[in-house]
Amino acid sequence: MNDLTPNSLRAWPDARGRFGEHGGRFVAETLMPLILELETAYNEAKANPAFQAELDYYLKHYVGRPSPLWHAKRLSQHLGGAKIYFKREELNHTGAHKINNCIGQILLAKRMGKTRIIAETGAGQHGVATATVCALFGLPCTVYMGATDVERQKPNVFRMKLLGAEVVAVKSGAATLKDAMNDALRDWVANVRDTFYIIGTAAGPHPYPAMVRDFQCIIGNEAREQLMEAEGRLPDVAIAAVGGGSNAIGLFHPFLDEPSVKLIGIEAAGKGLDTNEHAASLNRGRPGVLHGNRTYLLQDDDGQILEAHSISAGLDYPGIGPEHSWLHDIKRVEYAGVTDDEALAAFQLCSKLEGIIPALESAHAIAHVLKIAPQMGKGEIILLNLSGRGDKDIFSVANYLGTEL
């Protein structure tokens, strides 16, 4: 780990859970005592070597960490510029980075004596990861998922059911991730005494954004070490897709205090940033309060939350984790947009050149690499977080491409 100087960008949030003006704890009073209890329990666990040892054990023997760092030679050659490395989070058990956080939170839930788990999910990756750890620890699990997402992510819905979870299809709003999170919060309010809410992204009321980030930092920490071993130096660019932003913050955080490392987060630009159908809360939103935190949101002039759009269910969210909002404000991270079409093209190219079918979320980051790698020198290095595998997406991709399965 790095030494944290007083000016470290890694020292946030403050005592109120704020990252600059973002973050905080905007929840109903019913939940507030539990949020405070969670913060205390998390701080104790974080400092407890036994908790860390237990976490390490499951990450190694159950999740399969460390995940490899792959030099994507053919993609690098094809683009003719920077050397591209993939951090292979899609090789984790359950096929995405989400499980890193779920293992951490369920160990915490057990320490707190909670007997029931709830979660929200968009693409279904977090739902599957949560259902998986619930099966592993024998706890009942209810996953809230927008009805639209239930439709476009059928394989993951079936996986969750196989794992013993109850999947609730949420029909309110556009029936996507935002609505799933609303209903998960309502469940939590109603069952606050026995239930632990495993939030899947680095958003929500404090301490979730910091806690999820901490559990995901293993991505950046490992990649940093692996790259030092492979190349003897840090990357020039580290890049990841951002929906809520958990895989991105996990990759970026260990590099925040390294000014030589350019950090790029990719928002879903859907049908284009200048249309009304995208999920680019940093590029096109403004700060507000939703789901327990202050952050950039897609909203109308009256403060009503707008529906997001993305081909990727995991990015289809009108907000973003508060730490990203702050990193955007201070310009430490550059946030760019990638459209549905660009992501689809990258999805196919990566599959053909590297033999890796990426998740549509990760394909957004790959699409941006297709733009920047050719402009970079052969000696330069891009580190990309391949956050999930694309098996879950083959049905919706086939649909977009007009192929009948």
Binding site: V27, E29, T30, P33, V189, L290, G292, D301, G303
Partner: protein, 266 residues
């Protein structure tokens, strides 16, 4: 004395509790909301709570969620809600009005401007569901400046220790969320209230209103036997959906009669 304090002082003299019915603004249209506000005030509502529609009402059950959606479809905006209050105030200067809603539309309007505009329209108090004591400094100074009461939610999960912290900065009355859950679902029992209300009383002199799950005249009567006011929301919205505004006003009358039937020590 504020309108809210005035009402509770008068009711203490009278020896009875208050009825606080709820109207979701613009559900299903502006005219209906105005009819309901006037009709409720004339039929026994002591204070009226007005819901400000929001796309993501996280503490609300299906009934109020649907009401909010209808309100937004009918064109409800924050300014629209304040204009509704202004119009109501032309004929009624005595019934306290409390706005209930979520923080984001208020932030979007600008907190300072909102408090000023709300007070000018004739609003007496604010209930902001997703603004716990920890974040209340965002709003409290501006509310105070404009003499708006900030009504705090207390939940069954609020510990004795935390109660003091939450009550600091509260004014008007205390809103006791009588169940752990969203609006309009379960109902607290008389035994629950007999246990919970005295716990809050030891910490505050403010009147205590009970909401979330109060539906029938009998339940409202039970509530005011223990607390100072009964808040009824989802049940009235259900009536509006199944019948019409006249039926809602009829229900308010019945609730008011039940509340008035409970005598309290002055």
């Amino acid at each position: 004395m504020s309108r809210i304090a005035g009402v509770f002082a008068a009711l203490r003299q009278e020896g009875r509790g208050a009825l606080i019915p709820f109207v979701e603004a613009f559900d299903p249209d502006r005219a209906t909301s105005l009819t309901l506000l006037k009709g409720m005030a004339e039929n026994g509502a002591d204070i009226i709570e007005i819901g400000m529609p929001f796309t993501d009402p996280m503490a609300d059950g299906p009934t109020i969620q649907a009401a909010g959606r209808r309100g937004l479809q009918a064109g409800a905006t924050l300014n629209g809600v304040l204009e509704l209050v202004t119009e109501f105030r032309k004929e009624n200067d005595h019934t306290p009005l409390v706005l209930m809603g979520y923080l984001n539309p208020i932030l979007s309007h600008g907190v300072e401007a909102f408090c000023f505009d709300a007070a000018k329209a004739g609003v007496d108090g604010l209930i902001i569901v997703d603004l716990p004591a920890e974040e209340a400094d965002l709003v409290l100074p501006y509310a105070k400046e404009n003499k708006l009461d900030v009504i705090r939610l207390i939940a069954p999960t609020t510990s004795d220790e935390r109660l003091r912290h939450v009550l600091a900065g509260s004014s008007g009355f205390i809103y006791y969320v009588s169940i752990t859950g969203v609006t309009g679902t379960r109902t607290a029992s008389a035994a629950d209230l007999a246990r919970d209300i005295p716990r809050i009383r030891t910490e505050t002199d403010l009147p205590i209103a009970v909401g979330f799950g109060v539906r029938t005249p009998d339940q409202a009567a039970t509530v005011v036997a223990h607390a100072d006011a009964a808040i009824v929301a989802s049940a009235l919205i259900d009536t509006l959906c199944k019948e019409n505004a006249e039926a809602v006003i009829r229900d308010v009358r019945a609730l008011a009669d039940a509340v008035r039937g409970v005598r309290k020590a002055a």
